[in-house]
Symmetry: D2
Subunit: 348 residues, 4 copies
């Protein structure tokens, strides 16, 4: 039973484990003051052309989201998100638990547009009886596998400036977005057009870890206190530093994402060739093909994946995820099985 359910089914890329091994008995300061963390931050700052950018390493995405939002918003301020956004759909009310409303917008392909933002602003004018929109949260790649184009991000940046909103980008799968075939954004663009974003390690080769990057020191003021208060400051911060240092050495981070995308692309190409359509365009390592229920049922005997949403009585969209660790032979087998099953299905 091979698992296409997610991109965190295995451990870490072997290079990371090797670095953990080789550094293991070196004594370091705790709480992120170690040399590995310092060097990893320098490596990231170099790639975004922002030598002063405050950077913090944390354990996971939900943690990163609640830390940043708790840090930047006052009690009456709200964050705008796609209804499919991770903070709304998958984090057990983490944002409300720290006191803030998420204002959702229905979206196509998991993406928020500048006009969505304008509509939210227009609908929140009855001060003080309504929350005050103060942040836009987007994910790249999105929870539906799609990516933002540079012009789209710039438009969001512009409307956020216009209405004095923070722009926060959840990059749990940022590597996959930035190495997608259709991508025209660089890591430095992401850093320029947002106020804060994070670089996801957990879903791209690390055991755990996300790197939160602020645009300016002002935006990060006292963030160290917030980190500690929310239980996010690891005593052995070195284990995050070592991982990000490894990922940002010799482009490992981007190479791993490329491999995941390439593997997904092969599956997508085969699906297209077989005439299947998709819930959202196949752009990164998350695919949402629409398949006949009967094919799905038979595939589930050999492969694990999620049924995402019903389409009609006989069809559903499923979610297939690849990663840096996906076995390419098994991915090819999956395609072959899919082909056989769908042909059988047609013959009936």
């Amino acid at each position: 039973m091979y698992n296409f359910k997610n991109d965190y089914a295995e451990g870490a890329h072997p290079l990371i484990l090797e670095q953990l091994f080789s550094s293991n008995l070196v004594q370091e300061l705790g709480y992120g003051e170690d040399h590995y963390s310092k060097n990893a931050k320098e490596a990231i700052r170099g790639q975004i052309n922002n030598p002063e950018a405050p950077i913090y390493f944390v354990s996971g995405g939900t943690q990163a989201n609640l830390l940043v939002i708790s840090h930047l918003l006052r009690p009456h301020e709200a964050v705008i998100s796609a209804k499919t956004g991770h903070i709304y759909a998958n984090e057990t009310g983490a944002i409300e638990a720290i006191g803030h409303r998420i204002i959702t917008v229905d979206s196509v392909n998991g993406k928020v547009t500048a006009s969505d933002v304008a509509a939210v602003i227009a609908a929140h004018q009855l001060r003080p009886h309504v929350v005050k929109p103060k942040m836009l949260y987007i994910s790249n790649s999105t929870e539906l596998g799609t990516i933002y184009r540079k012009d789209e991000l710039m438009a969001l940046h512009a409307i956020c400036r216009q209405h004095d909103l923070f722009l926060f980008l959840d990059g749990a799968r940022l590597g996959h977005a930035l190495t997608a075939k259709d991508n025209d954004l660089s890591l430095a663009d992401i850093a320029s057009y947002t106020d804060v974003f994070y670089i996801g390690g957990t879903k791209n080769g690390a055991l755990l870890g996300e790197a939160i990057v602020f645009r300016t020191a002002d935006l990060a003021e006292d963030f160290d206190y917030i980190l500690k208060q929310k239980g996010a400051l690891l005593a052995k911060g070195r284990i995050l530093g070592i991982q990000f240092l490894t990922l940002f050495t010799d482009d490992l981070y981007f190479n791993l994402a490329k491999k995941a995308n390439r593997c997904a692309q092969q599956i997508a190409d085969r699906l297209i060739a077989l005439g299947f359509s998709f819930l959202t365009p196949p752009q990164t390592n998350q695919l949402f093909p629409i398949l006949p229920r009967k094919v799905i049922d038979q595939l589930l005997a050999k492969y694990a994946f999620y049924i995402w949403t019903e389409i009609d009585e006989t069809h559903a969209a499923v979610r297939i995820i690849t990663s840096w660790a996906t076995d390419e032979t098994l991915a090819a087998n999956f395609c072959k099985d899919l082909e056989i099953l769908s042909e059988n299905e047609r013959k009936r």
Copy 2:
């Protein structure tokens, strides 16, 4: 410069790294549903004679504390702690940030007594103008290196039952407590006399990780939601499971703590022989000797440690911590240096 500042200056015990390596490419379910986590929980349940105990693995102590307290207390309920308790002294208001007052008691040696608890209850009778004490938080070993005796824990258990308080034990250094020379408590005792406690991995051989153990299923109801909401549920839960499975195989957890204690004991014995006194009795891997300022200054040239508190104009108490990774030769050197320096000091 050798570091006696804390017990998290190095990485993990090599056996743990080996297990991470050997399991690395096995596919597992995420979010703690992996086989390693299941097996690690079984191993712990076996040691506490409580086959139904709900167990959850989290990243660190502050996180464990805020999760448990947020889970068990209603908004008007408060937690009692020693003023030196980690939740009061070292966690940046994490407990208040989730809405609860910490009622502190001045304590001798970092420990809370049953009469302290009774006094707090007596002082909180002016309902509804005062908070309602509903939990007792203790640490074993304490933040001052001391340990609870069985009769002391039983007395706390009894008064908590009497006043309907939860008894929560922070075991960030539980291994060191249970392997101390003076200890008469077993892990099963800890599990019997508390409502919830945790077993600290971070300070005893793991890269990160604490195991939260509830006494009954009722006490843990819906704790999985709380874990996820507070950003504590790791996608790759396997990395916590693998570590605790390793620690609870062949008594590794206790053997590592014993080594740390033994090393501390050797230093303490030498200090006693040299005529020095201690802020609190040297019982575990945290020592608080009182030294002449001049000796301290010279030691700091070769060794890193914290000055804990001023005693008088010429003396201060310092904190010396050993761990499973402490180099015994360097610890012996430290003792030798200490002896020379203190003799020199006397001669003046």
Copy 3:
């Protein structure tokens, strides 16, 4: 300029002011322990046939909502509401500020149906990654002036029992609901079919005040602490007690609501006669007629009211509210002006 914007433009019904005067120098205990509060509670308990119902008086609706929800929900639990519900649309994120998500349902006429609730439950199964729906919040009358029928409330009661949800009814305008022409619910029914509800005083003759009524003592356990903690416990609780005692003497509460409804009915009848339609059926003291923009503009020169929502390029729905204090002559003038203006408009 006569004000139809709301039902709180004047002070209190004169009988209430008289009671405040006549009791003024009697010494009473503070914090709701006064005799007036006790007697007012008895009066309400009598009307709901529940002699043990815990009752608390508070200052306003937002306060009542946040108190009840903070009291009954654990951190990961969410409340279901119509998107037009006061807690979602008009309270500045008060519920999120105490940590809870509001799950909204799109609704017809401001009402939630049992099938809405079932759909929310079905959509929140991915434990623990989603919030846990645990309460249904409804308003009667709703924010759109409509009311619940007995069969509708019973269906909501049944589905809440089935899924272990609390049913909480916001009765800021409960008097208007229970005295509406189409109403078939009694105050005792409201008390039977909900877990907690409140009786609004502010919008029906009081200076301020809402009476929160719990179905059982268990449901109200420690609510006094929550009241005090959220700043809702008035030192001079007598001023709430005196008002509710007056309102629940000789049916004043229901008579005032009847008067407001009657006045609204007269306006609605005239609007219907003139051929206008309504955004929602005119059932209580809040009317939402759809009028030509040109008529609206001219009316606004003499009368104050809110434009509620655009209908098309030439029409909008407005909100007209009457109250116990509405001047019936001026209401008749309003109807006359409306008739003249709309006839003029037609002639063009």
Copy 4:
């Protein structure tokens, strides 16, 4: 049984009720936009020589405290208070419930000194493991009836500026402080030397109400949202406006406080003449005389008051409170009874 337990046993000063009556049917805007509120704010601004000071009326002291603190502090910031401060001793954890630690200082007479503040700052240097002190909360008069002198307030102001702390003054009994015999502060001084303070109405002649005054518009930015979110924005804001307009017409506010103080002074003088001592110096309308237990027991048969604290086996300090409404004849009777009882006691 005459009640000296508190200063909120009666209703409102008759002039206030008269104004409520005479304004009752005037239509006004809701939520504090009424003319009475505007005029009351102007009246207060005139007395503090700060024509731009943002002012907000709220229902009670706990509400005022939690609003201001929630508004001004970020999540990791803490407020310093005397251990006897109302926010610590009497508000059911309201401040912790909005996320902030109260750092208490042991105090003499309920007052905080500049050196107390310096000590707190010194003890919170281990960033980011400790909370960040960011506000000083004081009460004038204090919960023990004492008052701040101008030089004391100026010293607190100076140290708050030095350490970038907000200075917040709880004036629930500000009238009593400013009309005390020993007072050398004016209302304008209070406004100059604090960042925010409030003028208590509830304990000095109003039915309910406190007036929160900010020093600058910046300090109050978006406070209207916070007010609404915490359930503190009354629909009929007029009832607060009318009361403060009345209190700040013809010095009523200060005259009522003077009367309460004068009455307390008479009792205090008699107690001194009888040779009794006090827990804290008798300066305002709260007295804490130390009396023999036997005298206390007999007094309690005719008068209601609180036993404050035990002094020794035969003595306790009690709390006697007077107000604008205290019956001077009964106060004289109380003194007489006290004299007789204490003489009898001595004769035994």
